[in-house]
């Protein structure tokens, strides 16, 4: 079948096509050892001998539609998303940049509301927005407003967090209910409006991470399950660490309204996006104390141990269902709806 290759919306889904796009189109021409880590943030040392604290550096663009949704907006998302990418490598986030691509005709009041929201999110996360850029494009060349943020943070000396560090016997901890962000945004999408008593969970997680790292030196993996959902994050960990992950369906926190919306729309909540949740792999002897520390925080109240790291089948995620069956939980295949973040 001869057809011209073009970018499809599915290339932005966070699933396999996105991974392939990065692996084939970006990594080879730019190749270097830091890029090759392919973690949420690049981590590198500023000293020639690699000693001392390391810098974490990341960037992300936000194209969510609509700009304002229950529980958040593009501004809060742009700050929290980048803060969380830094936090997931164990970094203490410090400074962000913010770039705006604005469509001609955007009400100034909208821009102001977004900027105000970013200020509030930055204050909550304890970071500062220290540089930025603005571009305006003609009507039709952008959908209202796109925001890019980049961020830097410091990784304490000796701290090693990474997707390849899960070991057999480790506990898998989830910080709270899944699917809230995806369903909150979808419920307000044009042509798909439905009443869902659900708010986006968009939140900065660096405070939660700090509490976890203080509770145990044996936090081995941190991931924020955004596009592609919990299922995709767990599969990434299983693949990078070459281990199996066994989870229990009944232990996964899920809000009733998210559950109901997923049933109605035919979505599996395991694949629905989150913006204020993390999944952690922790040494088994420290799991309970990390869990207790998480539950004492605002964004970890509903935290739960959802499973454990097992030897077999390596690279796969298995789930025991509520009725006692077992199924394989693969990575997101295909796409959910585009422009969720």
């Amino acid at each position: 079948m001869a057809k011209a290759s073009k970018i499809l919306l599915a290339h932005g889904s966070g699933g396999r096509l996105s991974h392939d796009l990065v692996a084939k189109e970006f990594v080879p021409p730019w190749q270097n050892p830091i890029l090759d880590q392919l973690n949420d943030s690049a981590v590198f040392s500023l000293s020639a001998d690699g000693s001392g604290p390391r810098l974490a550096f990341t960037t992300d663009s936000y194209v969510v539609k609509p700009l304002f949704f229950k529980g958040g907006d593009i501004g809060r998302l742009a700050v929290c998303g980048t803060v969380n990418d830094l936090a997931m490598v164990g970094a203490k986030p410090l400074y962000l940049s913010a770039s705006f691509v604005i469509e001609e005709g955007l009400p100034l009041s909208t821009l102001r509301a977004v900027v105000r929201s970013m200020r509030e999110a930055a204050a909550e996360a304890g970071i500062q927005i220290v540089t930025g850029d603005t571009k305006v494009v003609e009507r039709g060349a952008a959908d209202g407003l796109f925001v890019n943020t980049a961020g830097v943070g410091l990784v304490p000396a000796g701290l090693e967090i990474g997707g390849d560090r899960a070991r057999v016997g480790d506990a898998v901890i989830l910080s709270g209910s899944i699917g809230d962000h995806g369903i909150a945004v979808l419920s307000q999408r044009e042509g798909l409006e439905f009443e869902a008593a659900v708010e986006s969970d968009v939140a900065p997680l660096n405070g939660l991470v700090a509490v976890m790292l203080a509770a145990s030196p044996n936090v081995r993996v941190l991931r924020d399950p955004t596009r592609g959902g919990l299922a995709t994050s767990l599969n990434e960990i299983a693949a990078q660490s070459n281990v199996g992950i066994a989870i229990e369906e009944t232990t996964i926190p899920l809000n009733d309204s998210v559950w109901a919306a997923c049933e109605m729309l035919g979505f599996d909540p395991l694949y629905v996006a989150n913006e204020g949740k993390l999944v952690a792999v922790v040494a088994p002897e420290d799991a309970e104390q990390v869990l207790a520390a998480m539950r004492a925080t605002r964004y970890g109240e509903q935290a739960a141990i959802i499973g454990e790291v097992v030897a077999e089948p390596a690279g796969k995620v298995l789930m025991r269902t509520a009725i006692g069956g077992t199924r394989i939980v693969h990575m997101l295949v295909g796409e959910m709806l585009p422009r969720i973040c």
């Binding site: 079948m1 499809l8 559950w259 109901a260 789930m319 009725i323 006692g324």
Partner: protein
Amino acid sequence: MTMRYVQEFRDGAAAQGLVARIEAAASRPVNLMEVCGTHTVSVFRHGIRGLLPPPVNLLSGPGCPVCVTTNADIDKAIALAQQEGVTLATFGDMMKVPGSYQSLQQAKADGADVRVVYSPRDSVRLARDNPHRPVIFFAVGFETTAPTIAASLLEAQRLGVTNFYVFAVHKLIPPAMIALLESGEVRIDGFICPGHVSVIIGSRPYEPIAKRYGVPCVISGFEPLDVLQGIEMLLRQTAEELAEVEIQYSRGVRPEGNPLARELMYRVFEVSDAGWRGLGCIPGSGLKLRPEYRAFDAEQAFPVEPPPTKEHRGCLCGEVLRGVITPPECPLFAKACTPEKPIGPCMVSSEGTCAGWYQYGPRS
């Protein structure tokens, strides 16, 4: 995680009880066909297959509307979408189904105006909001969907929306079940009949299947306990050598179905022959617009001539839809054919058998 009324149907202890009864009743090998794609997904999603004793073999049937849509119909939808100034609206699952040469998604990337809607009423609204643009709804589905399309068409008529058209390739389930039995290609010892279709048609259209062909039918719901109980009821019938139509899904299905919905459906549509992927043309298995609604007929308003159809080389979707093979027996499965680059429609639809195996099962 609590959910009233649905969560009860996912209770672990009740499931174990049903599994024990299924084990006790499974004395000889039986092939049970779940006709409907939603059942197929439920079986996978809840890990039901692994709970069943070896004599009970589940076959997936032709009950995925996207999957049974022929290349010829997809090609025609694409040709309609490529008409200058036309908008084509359809359900999301149709976007990625490959036709002979391309999919609607590719046609959209090439510039055709193709929209995904969640309800046919949204396409009526689309037409109303864009009065100078013909909006064609590509209507795919079984008896469950057809009444909603009929209602949308009548709504468009009532609102005086004259730029709304329907390209309907609806299909009816019981004739396809009979075609499978007539072919004799696969032994079927019982049908798990579709719950949602039966909400509309009731239990009576399955009577000939039970009476004439001696195959038990149980209309089941979609929660895991529904499916397990449906299997248990079928096993009880086969053990007692009965062939009856029973309703497990009694909270949704009445024997007489929904006469109002059927009246709506047959006010707008009439029974016609229809082409099915894998099953060929089945007499009396489709729905076409009645002559008095010709003004809404996209094929009348936009005569298009799509290029000759081609089948995808090596694709065994037809065999999968007839229950002749399971997806891993297709040489393309999970190799050349994946949900990202599907070759056949059974890998595209969220209710497709191949997609179910790929998403929830072992991939080799």
